[in-house]
Symmetry: C2
Subunit: 125 residues, 2 copies
């Protein structure tokens, strides 16, 4: 037996979202509608939560103006494949979020100290 | 003179976001921090608002499981290049949102009627 079809709706305007749902119902479609107000949540639903950050990293590093901007990936994952993938895509610094509060705070202070010494390219004018 | 460097922070956990900001400040970094709780908003800030939907379309159509799912792009844009690009990326139906309420409602009802007649592939099990 085939599973019922779900409709994924991504609409940031709540009025539009309601209008869309109401008029879809009016035309007799009763399938479940999953509403999302932003693409990130929809992407997490469709692909799992990890994909979104990677996608933004890829886009920034593919952009001719933005690719020079240093990117720090700060995540709970310490999976070596994931770390490798981020560096391959051009991430500048990858940090695993320590689970312990004090260690997390300390890691961020170190990151701040790092920010305070690195040079960044001039923005395009 | 070079522009001051802005720090773009994307962090969905508000507690983490505060911790990150506080500890960056503690290490003496005073640059403006732009906080975003989701990637969509950050991508809109970095690339402009139009890019996000296109990106999700691309990802869905590149995914071996999801690419069979019909995708309807419903947008305010009626730019012919944009329409062409969406179809090239595999969008199934492109609809420009009518600005008039009644026309919008009617377009969605038509979309619903369309949903009620199309077949979709079975989900992978």
């Amino acid at each position: 037996m085939s599973k019922p079809v779900k409709i994924i709706m991504i609409e940031d305007d709540e009025g539009h979202a309601r209008l869309i749902e109401r008029n879809i119902r009016r035309s007799g479609v009763n399938n479940e509608i999953m509403p999302f107000t932003n693409g990130t949540d929809a992407v997490s639903y469709l692909f799992g939560s990890d994909g979104t950050g990677i996608d933004i990293l890829r886009r920034v590093k593919e952009d001719k103006y933005l690719k020079c901007a240093p990117v720090v990936v700060l995540t709970t994952t310490d999976d070596s494949q994931e770390i490798k993938r981020c560096y391959e895509l051009g991430c500048n610094v990858y940090i695993t979020k320590p689970v312990n509060y004090e260690s997390f705070a300390n890691a961020i202070r170190q990151l701040g100290l790092f920010f305070s010494v690195i040079q960044v390219p001039q923005a395009a004018t």
